[in-house]
């Protein structure tokens, strides 16, 4: 483009000790451009965003804003230079009111309220941020960034955990921002969104930009190829195999209720079956998984495992029936300061006698097996918190591989994970099913249902809206049921 770039970065690099997070990143954004930043987990996207927003400083390289060299000393400094980020975890202070949160970032209240109402939302400024649901909080964070009318808006996986209607709103907001001649850096793992809204896309791999191209329809294959390099795995390719489902039920759920969130939910999971759960945000799926995992108590209904009625008082009860839970929030599942090995081995100590000795030799063997079968990147193995999001997710699943289970409850296991890792996780789920183990899988990406499930139920307002066989698990049917539309 002949036009002067709004932002141009050259040879940017950053290392944490011996771990190279960003090797050599180059790209530029023109005014009025929506630029997608793509890459597998650990490719360096987050590091790049952190440098651009003043959270950390790069080891070397050049950042030019409107042709002038800049280095941002703090997020505040970046914001004053017209760069406003919205991170995956909303940067709102939980214990203070929205109003005071706005004050903290020098955000104009009226402009914020204007942006909020333009989103079709209403917010009580006196509410504490901790009292607000996560999706709304994310929209508030976006409205706060927009209120500064930034030259460059950086959206880091903002749509990852948004319900479909809000994600669409974000897309149209990006379009409006572009129409005013402002630019957006958009990070998302949903390739459809990228094709829909982005002008160009840059793909990072191992901390280096490997490809930049116009993000037109049909660029999906090119994106995936660039992201994965020589690893020729396509997540868009269905890993679905022949049904080998036994006829006997592993678990039967009868008229399960939980307060106002779940009403009269009934379904069965057969041995070796992967049952998908589709729903928009907040339709009771969180509570359903918690109840099945023994972390919450139902207010009504019955649970049967192998035909026997069971009551779970504690997650350990569920585990003793072979039911393992992989929560959606990786942070609640992991011990961030401990090593991969300890995190993987944690659930193995359940059956141990109080003063029993840990057999480290055997533990190492099992854990090494899990690490290999899951292809966990072990560059930062001494502390799990230093792993990328996708690798952390693999550790949370891998822990159950080392222990064994009969039913795995997977809550949105691929949230914020790159396509390559997603494919590995689907493969893993299929492997479980081939071994005769059952999986209950909730995913916020409807396309995944068809890729990995044998059957799906759709929750709407706490009820089972639809019970779809595999042939009917297309995005259209799932989506209409998830919106409460009764399908024939």
């Amino acid at each position: 483009m002949s036009q002067q770039a709004l932002l141009k970065i050259s040879n940017l690099a950053k290392s944490y000790g011996s771990v190279v997070a960003l090797r050599n990143a180059n790209f530029s954004i023109s005014p009025g451009e929506i630029h997608a930043l793509l890459g597998a987990n650990g490719a360096g996207k987050s590091t790049l965003v952190k440098i651009l927003t003043g959270v950390i400083s790069g080891d070397q390289g050049l950042i030019e804003l409107n042709g002038r060299e800049v280095a941002f000393s703090s997020p505040d400094n970046a914001r004053k230079n017209g760069i406003a980020p919205v991170f995956q975890d909303p940067a709102l202070i939980p214990d203070i009111s929205i109003q005071r949160n706005l004050y903290l970032t020098d955000t104009d209240k009226d402009r914020f309220l204007f942006e909020i109402s333009a989103m079709g939302l209403s917010v009580d400024l006196n509410q504490l941020a901790s009292d607000i649901e996560l999706p709304i909080l994310r929209m508030i964070d976006l409205a706060r960034a927009l209120a500064h009318d930034p030259e460059l808006l950086i959206l880091d996986e903002i749509t990852a955990a948004l319900p479909i209607d809000m994600a669409e709103k974000v897309i149209s907001i990006m379009g409006a921002h572009k129409a005013r001649g402002k630019s957006v850096i958009f990070i998302s793992h949903r390739l459809a969104e990228i094709e829909e809204i982005c002008d160009r896309a840059t793909v990072l791999r191992d901390g280096t930009n490997v490809d930049t191209f116009d993000a037109t329809q049909g660029s999906e294959a090119r994106i995936v190829a660039a992201m994965l390099g020589d690893k020729n795995v396509l997540a868009t390719h269905s890993t679905k195999q022949k049904n080998k489902i036994a006829t006997d039920d592993f678990m039967r759920v009868e008229s399960l209720s939980g307060g106002k969130q779940l009403k009269d939910v009934s379904f069965t999971i057969k041995r070796g079956e992967v049952l998908g759960v589709a729903a928009l945000e907040g339709q009771g799926q969180d509570l359903l998984f918690e109840i099945l995992a023994g972390a919450s108590k139902p207010t009504g209904g019955k649970l049967f495992v192998n035909g026997e009625e069971v009551t779970f008082h504690h997650p350990s009860d569920a585990i003793s029936y072979g039911i393992s839970y992989v929560p959606g929030d990786r942070k609640t599942a992991l011990m961030p300061q401990r090593s991969i090995r300890e995190n993987l081995a944690l659930t193995r100590y359940r059956g141990m006698r109080r003063w029993g000795k840990i057999n480290f030799g055997e533990e190492e063997l099992k854990v090494d097996g899990a690490v290999q079968s899951l292809e966990i990147d072990t560059r930062a193995k001494s502390q799990v918190k230093r792993l990328s999001g996708g690798n952390q997710q693999k550790v949370t699943i891998g822990r159950w591989v080392t222990t064994g289970f009969d039913l795995l409850l997977c809550f949105d296991p691929t949230r914020g994970i790159d396509v390559g890792t997603k494919a590995q996780i689907y493969d893993l789920i299929r492997t479980f099913s081939d071994q005769g183990k059952s999986v209950l899988l909730f995913t916020s990406e409807l396309r995944e249902i068809q890729l990995s499930c044998d059957r799906a139920i759709v929750l709407y307002e706490g009820k089972v809206q639809a019970n779809l066989p595999f042939e009917k698990c297309d995005e259209v049917s799932l989506l209409s049921a998830a919106h409460g539309i009764v399908s024939k």
Partner: protein
């Protein structure tokens, strides 16, 4: 909106009810209750109330200062050593100078913590020993004094209970309220609530911490001066500073400050000092060794932390 405000004040209301209950109990046992007794009660709570407020500011900001009692003892010893037999004018100047010293001590503590990245609890435990060491060097044995006019101006005389009441309320008005309404106040809640989010919102985390420790130091300084005015001497004992520190934490927690940071105010801790004062005096009236009062204070602190946690959790779920 009013409902939200009432909900936020519910903790303070609870503290007032407990304090009033204990107060009535105690007052009913006194043969007479007049302004002299009011002054006695105020003098009893003043040093701890001030320390609790200082501790509260630091805890709200996500830290904890185990040297706050030692800061007060150091100022107490400095004041008693240098203010004895001085004219009123000199004493006033010295008071201001000592408050400045206490601010500097607090700021230095904050600086060490934010620069070294060592946990607050370790740094302040270490500085508490250092400060007590200084105090013992300055005033090796209990003694010293203070200009009587100044002492009476601070602690009152006979039945004049207004001076200590003013000393109790004034810091709330001229330090806490402006702080709460300022950008620094929001930054204090922000770093205590979620340090990373605060940083992303543009808060200078290190500088805010230094300022909070400095403000905490100011409260410790006022407490030290008040202690001198009440006792007219300086006592360099570690036991005094340790008890004072623990009481300041108990006062802050009883006063509704969450130990995890980000939640609380200063009115609660100021009122909680009443509870910490009434428990031992009531026990003493019943002829029970006041040492046992520490058991009750400790147990009460645990109960309050538990109850507070339960209330917050319930609030979160719904």
């Amino acid at each position: 909106m009013n409902l939200i405000k009432i909900k936020r004040q519910s903790w303070n209301i609870g503290i007032v009810i407990i304090a009033l209950g204990l107060g009535t109990w105690q007052i009913n046992r006194l043969p007479v209750f007049g302004s002299y007794e009011v002054r006695t009660i105020l003098l009893g709570i003043l040093p701890i109330a001030l320390l609790s407020m200082g501790q509260a500011i630091i805890i709200i900001g996500g830290g904890i200062n185990l040297a706050i009692g030692a800061e007060a003892v150091l100022i107490n010893c400095l004041a008693a050593r240098f203010m004895a037999n001085k004219s009123f004018g000199v004493a006033i100047v010295l008071t201001l100078a000592l408050l400045f010293v206490s601010v500097c001590v607090g700021a230095l503590t904050g600086l060490i913590i934010s620069r070294s990245k060592i946990a607050d609890i370790i740094v302040t435990l270490a500085t508490s020993f250092i400060l007590i060491g200084f105090a013992m060097y300055i005033q090796p044995s209990p003694g010293g004094g203070m200009n009587l006019t100044l002492a009476h101006l601070i602690s009152g005389k006979g039945s004049a209970f207004l001076p200590p009441l003013i000393v109790l309320i004034l810091p709330l008005l001229i330090i806490w309220i402006p702080l709460y309404r300022s950008r620094m106040g929001i930054a204090m809640f922000a770093i205590g609530s979620n340090k990373d989010a605060a940083f992303l919102s543009g808060v200078n985390v290190d500088l805010t911490r230094i300022k909070l420790y400095a403000t905490g130091g100011l409260f410790a300084g006022i407490s030290g001066i008040v202690l001198t005015a009440i006792t007219l001497s300086g006592s360099p004992f570690a036991s005094i500073s340790n008890t004072a520190t623990l009481n300041s934490v108990a006062g802050a927690v009883l006063g509704g400050v969450a130990l995890s940071g980000g939640v609380g105010g200063l009115t609660g801790p100021a009122l909680a000092a009443l509870i910490l004062y009434f428990i031992p005096t009531i026990l003493l009236n019943y002829g029970i060794d006041p040492a046992y009062s520490q058991i009750i204070t400790g147990a009460l602190t645990i109960v309050v932390v538990l109850a507070g946690g339960l209330i917050r959790n319930r609030g979160k779920k719904k």
